[in-house]
Amino acid sequence: MTSISATEHHGPEKGLMRWILTTNHKDIGSMYLIFSLLMFFIGGSMALIIRMELVEPGLQVVQPEFFNQMTTMHGLIMVFGAVMPAFVGLANWMVPMMIGAPDMALPRLNNFSFWILPFAFTMMLSSLFMDGGAPNFGWTFYAPLSTTYAPPSVTFFIFAMHMAGVSSILGAINIIVTVMNMRAPAMTYMKMPLFVWTWLITAFLLIAVMPVLAGTVTMMLTDIHFGTSFFDAGGGGDPVLFQHLFWFFGHPEVYIMILPAFGIISQIVPTFSRKPLFGYPSMVYATSSIALLSFTVWAHHMFTVGLPLVGELFFMYATMLISVPTGVKVFNWVATMFRGSLTFETPMLFAIAFIVLFTIGGFSGLMLAISPADFQYHDTYFVVAHFHYVLVPGAVFSIMAATYYWLPKWTGYMYDEFLGKCHFWCSFIGLNLTFFPMHFVGLAGMPRRIPDYSLQFADFNMISSMGGFLFGFAQILFVIVIVKCVQGGKKAKAVCWEGAKGLEWSVPSPAPYHTFETPPNLPDEKYP
């Protein structure tokens, strides 16, 4: 390949243009992560407004109209703005270094798929200030509430979703091409680190499922503006068609948000147990079977919509079956820790909290899978507790664990261990205080997405709100740790953690602007 000597050794350009024109996977990874942190705080502040209103019965902070806008935007921003970009950012940073590639296969596409996001979310957030307010129909935007009865800002919401979808699809294409073509010569598929494996499978899920969301949102657009009636019963359409299409995208989407987390935990737990990951091949098989099964379970979100008996039974069985591979993964992590030599730095604390709390979320998920019982759980706070237990200690804690784990590699300095532990404990206590009482109020009969509730739910909601504020403000500690670590601190060695294995630790820290210009040869140990 003609190596233009000019690009050989010059560092990044100076000033703003570096970030706008960058094709370097490390810069783009950092931009994704900073963008996701920003969205995490915006979505988090909306969650605090929701919790402020729900502190006690009665309407004291916001009107129901605005409350519905907050719940909708909180869901959308957290799912599409905070969790997914964070995982894409971690993939951009780490996948090339883990497989020994100089950069992502399509760097300009990488830059483009990042720079779509700020514009998509500016458009989404600007709908808050429009006449009629922001979308108020829930992050699941069921028709006809989101088509015939929606505020005029629904069109901006539709285009923002299109742009976020395009960004995710392009990111997924980029990762598949990189992983399939640019692995170091000796690295066969079964020698790849598990984080790369889970991201490869997630990328396939993304490509299969994002177009369905784009299609559904386009059908909404034509329903609202061009007089079609896909989801309008009056013209021969069917609102339940919307739910089928949305959840055919929706359920693989929630697996898209958790599979990279499995990958991260499978990198961290072996490092701090100083022991190879237990059952590496079965972890890969379990991830792929989760991905395959995730396409067959979507209607467990619709058990009360009036499915025929045959449908309810089929989706109940398929959903129960998905908990088997997930269980296998949890058993593998516990087996990895068993008879290891454990130390409890911050990434490991987050990983253990992930395993424990995500499993609780998994169990409430299994209870929800039972369709007769789902008639009592559906659309109550029990469901809210379930998906927050799967998402907050699941996706968010694994992103934080990954950040603490790789921060020394990115910045070249160790983070402040004491502040890291404070951040962990505040988040851990805050999280449980917020979401565990939700199981109780949900079972006792409190429906979802209501700004005001009857008296018997009062005390648990008070505890939830207190926990919510504790968890919310604890995240400021996270920002402090990151900023301090970027500015300075104890120098980090190339291999920052004693048990760490993998190609990313063979480069010095901070990782130079261009790594693995020439493909590395693999260290000889059998497993990553």
């Binding site: 299609g215 386009t218 059908m219 009636s229 896909f230 021969g236 499915l307 025929p308």
Partner: protein
């Protein structure tokens, strides 16, 4: 030199786009076969039964008249219910009146409960097959002639036929 590739990709994109629009009839066919969510055919069915009228069983069919939110017409079922043998023809008359001062067009959508029985419900003649245009203050008696397939499962002895009138005056004007 990539002409062939560009051609393939653009036809694939066009195909995907058209598939999106083919979804609606596909969904109807899918519902038709599985009888999902009580979606009954809006088209005249010329089904002839081999077994003829099944004297042994009686099925009660109830009629419900609903209106969508912005449909001001008066719309009610004359006969509340009909008891008939599977295979025999049944009839229901509905009264509809346009109480507004302007000409309006309505479209009736039919749905059957329990949804498992939708597959066995055939309408030979129904006001939901075409749009109903009513002038200001005009009132009409409109009807449906239907029959129930004899091989409907034994345990279904009561069915409810629900008509919902939708105001599509603006939708028509818009097109």
């Amino acid at each position: 030199m990539h002409k062939k590739l560009i051609l393939q990709l653009s036809t694939a994109c066009l195909g995907m786009f058209l598939f999106g629009f083919a979804l609606v009839p596909l969904y109807d066919v899918f519902c038709e076969i599985t009888g999902l969510n009580g979606k009954v055919d809006l088209v005249e069915s010329k089904k002839k039964y081999h077994a003829g009228v099944d004297e042994t069983r009686l099925i009660k069919v109830q009629f419900i008249a609903n209106r969508n939110e912005n449909m001001p017409w008066k719309f009610s079922a004359q006969n509340k219910e009909v008891v008939l043998h599977p295979g025999a023809n049944g009839q229901a008359i509905f009264y509809v009146k346009n109480t507004t001062q302007r000409e309006m067009i309505g479209q009736a959508i039919v749905s059957v409960s329990p949804s498992a029985s939708a597959k066995y419900f055939h309408k030979t003649q129904c006001f939901c097959f075409e749009r109903q245009a009513l002038k200001a203050g005009q009132e009409e008696s409109i009807g449906v002639v239907f029959s129930i397939d004899p091989d409907i499962p034994e345990e279904i002895t009561k069915m409810t036929l629900s008509y919902t009138f939708f105001d599509i005056t603006d939708a028509i004007a818009e097109r």
